[in-house]
């Protein structure tokens, strides 16, 4: 799911928590998080520039994924660290885990594994969305950690997602849909009966279930971000529904 993440601030930030308190991190943790967020901002910037250069030089999106895939894989996989960061930054491990996992899934289990769909337009769509989102997000965290957050970055983080989030979801869903015929034909990642573990797994139906799971999950995350936006940008106090 194209994550313009979850609760207020997310990873790597001195948080603006619900009560407006600022949390203090140790000096070493802060130094590492600043380094991490600067590095990730730079990485996604490089990726974005590479994509633009490719398109200007070749005039087509065909082969774009192949040319940027190493950089994409490196920086997106590196983001697994953010689950570990949750221990320090007090973001929900579950939410971060789900976000990062869905990205890893798209990169490695769809785009990398099913080479035939790498030239689809939908791939470019979600790549562009991810790039803009991540550059905004990581620079937001960086400036937050440095206690010097320019308003336009805050504005960007809490406004871009309104368009980017649905666009990213569209890109991802269209890509998975395009991949389905190839998965069915090759039977990849699937386990058939009989086998001594008495279990079977059909990647094709698994992908269909994944696509359907966007239906309940996407609105929840989207409206959560909208609530965050109202709270951060307009100082409204929103009462969260307790279960």
């Amino acid at each position: 799911m194209a994550p313009s993440e979850e609760d207020g601030g997310g990873n790597g930030a001195v948080e603006e928590k619900e009560k407006g308190k600022k949390r203090k991190l140790g000096a070493l943790a802060t130094a590492w998080l600043i380094f991490y967020n600067v590095a990730m901002t730079a990485g996604w910037l490089v990726l974005g520039i590479a994509m633009v250069r490719f398109y200007i030089q070749k005039g087509t999106h065909r082969g774009l994924f192949r040319s940027v895939q190493k950089t994409l894989k490196f920086f997106q996989t590196f983001a697994l660290l953010e689950v570990v960061h949750c221990a320090v930054v007090r973001t929900s491990v579950l939410v971060t885990g789900v976000q990062v996992s869905s990205r890893i899934f798209m990169v490695w289990f769809i785009a990398h594994s099913i080479k035939q769909i790498q030239n689809e337009e939908s791939v470019i769509l979600f790549l562009v969305v991810w790039t803009v989102t991540e550059i905004t997000r990581y620079s937001f965290y960086t400036f937050n950690l440095l206690n010097h957050l320019p308003y336009f970055i805050k504005w960007a983080r809490y406004n871009f997602f309104i368009i980017l989030y649905p666009a990213g979801v569209a890109g991802e869903l269209l890509t998975i849909y395009a991949a389905l015929p190839y998965v069915k034909k090759t039977g990849m990642f699937s386990l058939r009966l009989p086998n001594k573990y008495n279990v079977s797994f059909d990647y094709y139906y698994f992908l269909i279930i994944v696509m359907f799971s966007y239906v309940p999950l996407f609105p929840q995350l989207y409206f959560h971000m909208l609530r965050q936006r109202r709270r951060v940008l307009h100082g409204e106090v929103i009462v969260e529904k307790d279960d």
């Binding site: 009966l193 009989p194 086998n195 001594k196 573990y197 008495n198 279990v199 079977s200």
Partner: protein, 312 residues
């Protein structure tokens, strides 16, 4: 102001809006919360007592039925807060529904009903004896649970929210269908170590079921006189209860053992996955129970662990 001639006055407010929902005058000082719930129910018929959370503080814990009005930290005009807990369902009913489902769902697959494995395989039976054995064990397990629900268990709380049962049923019934599908599949492969593996699993299964039953009986005996208070469980003459020496919740220990034995018997990954999830869930419950015991009893045996002796 105060009540007349020793009586209390009780006003009940909505916990969120603070609106006054009712005003009871001439309440006996030694009235219990249970009686107040009944009075409230008369005024609001749709909020039966099990749905009422009555508390002293809008965000506080619900008061128990047995609490007595004059022993509470209130003046002679008491202000209580009401929260609607939503539709409730009795624990006995919950368990009956949760356990009958898997029992019958398994049969759908065992007898290979038409729609399950395709028309060629309907109503056929498996060439492997272990498949019949698995059906017997699975059914035995759930029938035992149903019998315990009706005759053995004594519940301290009467009800649970209705919403939860839908979620629970999806989980238990869904998993039962998933593992029954593979065990009774025409292409099922029997365990790799054959009879040795199956016999070992059966013995372990029977021991764990007997153990689990013994613990349930022992726990039920602690509440024989109908009291709702907790007591420390101790080992009895029954050797299966000697696990109480080491563990706070041996019933969960035996239950995990049952499912491990079923996994070994069927050598089926979905069963193993279900076992793992059961283990995680029961460890959480056992740790909770263990902490409650430690909190309530100063003389609780300190060497006991929640679910696995010496380890967890």
């Amino acid at each position: 102001m105060g009540g007349r001639a020793g009586f209390f006055e009780v006003e009940i407010l909505d916990w969120e809006t603070k609106k006054q929902l009712c005003f009871l005058d001439k309440v006996e000082p030694n009235a219990t919360i249970r009686e107040i719930r009944l009075m409230f129910h008369k005024l609001y018929p749709r909020w039966y007592p099990a749905r009422q959370s009555i508390k002293l503080d809008p965000k506080g814990k619900s008061l128990r039925d047995e609490e007595i009005l004059q022993h509470l930290p209130v003046g002679t005009t008491a202000t209580l807060y009401f929260k609607d807990l939503g539709p409730q369902i009795g624990w006995t009913t919950v368990f009956l529904i949760e356990y009958t489902g898997p029992l019958f769902i398994y049969f759908l697959f065992y007898f290979r009903m038409t729609f399950v494995y395709g028309l060629d395989e309907r109503f056929t039976s498996s060439p492997h004896p272990v498949v019949n054995l698995a059906c017997i064990c699975h059914s035995f397990h759930y029938i035992k649970r149903l019998i315990e629900t009706v005759f053995v268990h004594r519940f301290s709380r009467g009800t649970m929210p209705l919403r939860k049962i839908v979620k629970n049923c999806f989980y238990y019934w869904g998993f039962a269908a998933w593992l029954a599908y593979y065990i009774n599949h025409p292409l099922y492969t029997p365990p790799s170590y054959g009879k040795k593996q199956i016999n070992f699993a059966v013995i372990m299964f029977l021991l764990c079921e007997a153990g689990n039953f013994s613990i349930h009986v022992a726990l039920s005996d602690l509440r024989r006189n109908g009291s709702k208070t907790r007591k420390i469980p101790y080992p009895t003459k029954n050797p299966f209860t000697w696990l109480f020496f080491f563990v706070s919740c041996p019933n969960y220990t035996y239950e995990v053992g049952t499912w491990i034995s079923f996994t070994i018997m069927t050598q089926c990954v979905p069963v193993g996955l279900f076992t793992l999830l059961c283990f995680i869930q029961m460890t959480i419950w056992a740790k909770d129970k263990h902490c409650t015991y430690l909190r309530e009893f100063k003389d609780y045996p300190s060497h006991r662990t929640p679910i696995i002796p010496f380890l967890l």
